[in-house]
Each structure stands twice: as structure tokens, then as C-alpha cells.
Symmetry: C2
Subunit: 251 residues, 2 copies
């Protein structure tokens, strides 16, 4: 689960041990659709997703809702919690979620004492900013098909990075309403656009299984490039999954 960090900075075994040590924490549970923490609440810790999907979202006064990011297993929320005094967004469970609440001090201490780990935290935080910028661009410049396509590409790569997407398909537990809230569209239009993507062979989606028969084709149709995920290539390590071959075209 916390191989996420290993993705960013190669960790020695003692460093891994320290992390595992830090994570000797009770595993909490939230059923689907329950909030882990709500906008406006005082933050209490850093959330680490153990299993299931969660999402970060903001709510406007009149009820409109924007999902600003998804949290997959191994992801942590930003460290908002260590410094700021109020949550400016909520974190909600998409599916049943098992998670931990890691005390800020523990994180800070470990990050201080183990520079490589600290560096991994930094990396993670920068990637999350970068991703947020990409979402901004997604909503500002892309049309419905491109938005959905880009989102599905991002999820594919992120899931695969934690071993939850093999081959060319993955489990997509989002409803069309979730997709709508994430892409700034209506669920009706998401539905129609997904159908269009199906008939043009970009994806197949039934039940909760999404299949992307030709990743490169979807990337192109969506104007997706994976650079913003900064899937580290600094030390020459790359995955060998079929997915990645095309995703890494720009590197």
C-alpha cells in the first residue's frame, strides 16, 4: 500500500521499516457514501486510504458539487491538516473504504529524520498540485469526451501504479453522477458521451468493469498526456505493463 512512496524515492529496507512502524495504527472503516471529514471541519490528521476509493470534493452554497480529486488505495490527502485550521473541502467515501488517520506529528518526525522519506512526501505533494492543475485544464479546455477520456486515462495509470489495474481493464466503482461531478458535466451528458465512446470503440464499460482496448487511441482522442503524474523516471526505473508503453510516449 505504501509502495506509493517507493514510487517516488527508492527506499532502503530500514526506511520501509520505519514507515511500517509508523503505520501501526488502527484501520478505520467508512461505508460507501459516508464522509470521512467535511468541509469546514478542523482537520485532525492525514488520511491514508488502505482499500476502496474516496474522493475530495467542494460544495458551493447552493449545493453544486465538484469532485476535485480521487483518492485510491495508498493515497494520502495533503497535509492541510498539519498547518491549516479548516478543511476547505470534504473527503467522502465512494465505495466502502478502509483507512487510517496518521497523526501529523508522526509524519513530520519521520520526514525530518529520514530525508529520503521526506523527499518522497514532497514528491507526492508536488504531484498532487500538478494533478490539480491538470484537472483545471481539463475542465477549462476540454470537451465532454476529452474530459472523460482524460479522467479514465489518469485513473488507469494511477491504479496500475498500485497494482490494481492489470492488462487493459480495471474496476471502476464510480457512478455516472460521480463522473459528472468530477468533469463538470451533467450525468445525462456523461451517459450520452460514454455511449459515444463505446460505439467508437474507445472503451467498453459494463457493470463496474472498464476496458480500454487501445490505450494510445484513447489518449489521443482525449489529448491526454501523462507528464503531470510525474511517474518518476529519475532513476531509470519504469514499469513494463502494456499500458505504460503508450502512456510514456512523451518521455
Amino acid at each position: 500500500m505504501v509502495r506509493r512512496l517507493g514510487n517516488y524515492s527508492r527506499l532502503a529496507s530500514d526506511e520501509e521499516a520505519v514507515i511500517r512502524q509508523m503505520l501501526m495504527l488502527p484501520v478505520r472503516f467508512a461505508p460507501a457514501r459516508r464522509d470521512l471529514i467535511a468541509q469546514g471541519a478542523p482537520p485532525r490528521a492525514v488520511f491514508l486510504i488502505v482499500s476502496g476509493w474516496a474522493c475530495q470534493f467542494k460544495t458551493l452554497e447552493d449545493g453544486r458539487r465538484q469532485i476535485v480529486g480521487f483518492m485510491l488505495p495508498g493515497d494520502t490527502c495533503d497535509m492541510n491538516n498539519l498547518v491549516l485550521t479548516r478543511m476547505d473541502h470534504s473527503i467522502g467515501a465512494v465505495t466502502d473504504v478502509r483507512y487510517m488517520e496518521v497523526p501529523g506529528e508522526a509524519l513530520q518526525r519521520v520526514a525530518m529524520n529520514y530525508p529520503r522519506i521526506g523527499r518522497a512526501f514532497w514528491w507526492q505533494m508536488l504531484v498532487s498540485i500538478s494533478t490539480q492543475r491538470e484537472w483545471t485544464t481539463n475542465l477549462g479546455q476540454r470537451n465532454a469526451l476529452e474530459r472523460l477520456g482524460s479522467l479514465l486515462c489518469e485513473l488507469a495509470l494511477r491504479l496500475q501504479a498500485v497494482g490494481l489495474a492489470g492488462g487493459e481493464s480495471y474496476d471502476l466503482p464510480l457512478t455516472q453522477t460521480d463522473l459528472a461531478d468530477a468533469t463538470g458535466l451533467t450525468s445525462v451528458h456523461v451517459n450520452r458521451t460514454l455511449q459515444q465512446m463505446r460505439t467508437s470503440g474507445l472503451i467498453s464499460l459494463s457493470g463496474r468493469v472498464l476496458r480500454i482496448p487501445n490505450f494510445a487511441m484513447l489518449e489521443e482522442a482525449s489529448l491526454f498526456t501523462a507528464d503531470y503524474l510525474h511517474t518518476g523516471q529519475r532513476d531509470g526505473r519504469r514499469g513494463k505493463d502494456p499500458f505504460e508503453a503508450s502512456a510514456s510516449s512523451i518521455w
Copy 2:
């Protein structure tokens, strides 16, 4: 200029001195519309804006452009540069810009040795994530008037935080095309929407001077809330500018 940091964490005079020391760097210059650094380039340092406005933007393959944030005097870009290997966005000068390139190592060293300063950096970074989330929401959920209104509110508060907006007006060097690229609209529609905002008395804008006669009214019309800027209230210090009175209603 770097009272920005002081906004986040009250700094002792020796800490201020250290920062000033670190900033004994040549002041560089970029004319309006020139890029400070381009997407794809290897990052070289952290940019600190001394005077003028810059913007961060992403460009899609087909030329569409999304401004993902503005950098005002006193702002630094994120520390992308210390960790990641490629810029995933460009930084461009909106007006003539004077700026510095602060070496990553210097920043790191200072942040390590002076915890309060380090904390201020953290704060700044978290605020920038938070702002990016707000922009995502802006583009995803708000209509043209609300998007423009929210942007103008944000700029008002940020300018005022560095002493560049007094009373109820400020200098807005953005063209309508810039506003369009930032809000995901076309410049034509920006134009029409601005007119509507003028006739309804929300703003007056001529030349480069923007006036917001009634900040609270604009906030309400735009569904703007300033919480995401996290203008620290942790130690009871608040500004006393007329602007702020209304902006802080939710606190």
C-alpha cells in the same frame, strides 16, 4: 515583498534577516508576454516575482491554453523545481516582470534551519494547492459571471495582502483574452459578461482600473468565499481594510 511569508507565520527579526540574506540575488527582467520558463523544460530554480504579474499556464497539443494561476509580487512558484524533472506548465509574464531565481538548495537549507520559515513555506504550498482546487471548482461548477466574479475577488484579496490594492479598486493588467484563458471562456463571452457586470453595478472597469464598489455584493453574486486562501487567522491578526470585512464573513 516577502511579507507574503510573514502572512503565514510571524517571523522574528533574525528570521527576516536570513530571508533577506537569501534574497541577495540578481533581479532579472522579462518583458510582457515573454515566458520565464516553458512547459517541458528542466526546471532550474524557484521563481520569485518582485514586481509585475506572471501567470502559470498549460498548453494542449492543439494550442488551446489554460491559465491555471496568477503570480503576483511576492509570490513564488511551487518547488516543482527542487524535485521534479520537467516543467508540466509554463510561466509567462503578463506585464513586464522583475523576478529572482532562488536556488533550490538555498531554500531547503533555510527551511531546515529555521522551522518557522519552513512552516511558512509549507503554508504557502498548501494554499497553492487549495487555490488550485478552487479554480477547478470554479471551472467545473460556475457560470461565466460567477467565474469572472470569483477571479476578481481572489485577485482583490491577494493584491491587498501585499499592499497593492487599497480602497475598493486595483490595477488589473489582464486583457480580456487573459481572463478568457483563465476562466475557460472565449474572449467574446468574457466581454459580454463584463458588460453585464458593469451594468448591474458589480464592477466598473475602464482602462486597467478595476473598481468593486460593493465587495460583498460581488462575492454573493459569484458565490465566492475566501476560505480557500487561508489568510491566516491562527494568531488573531486580521487586516483592517474595508475589503476584508466582508470577505471574512464566513470566519
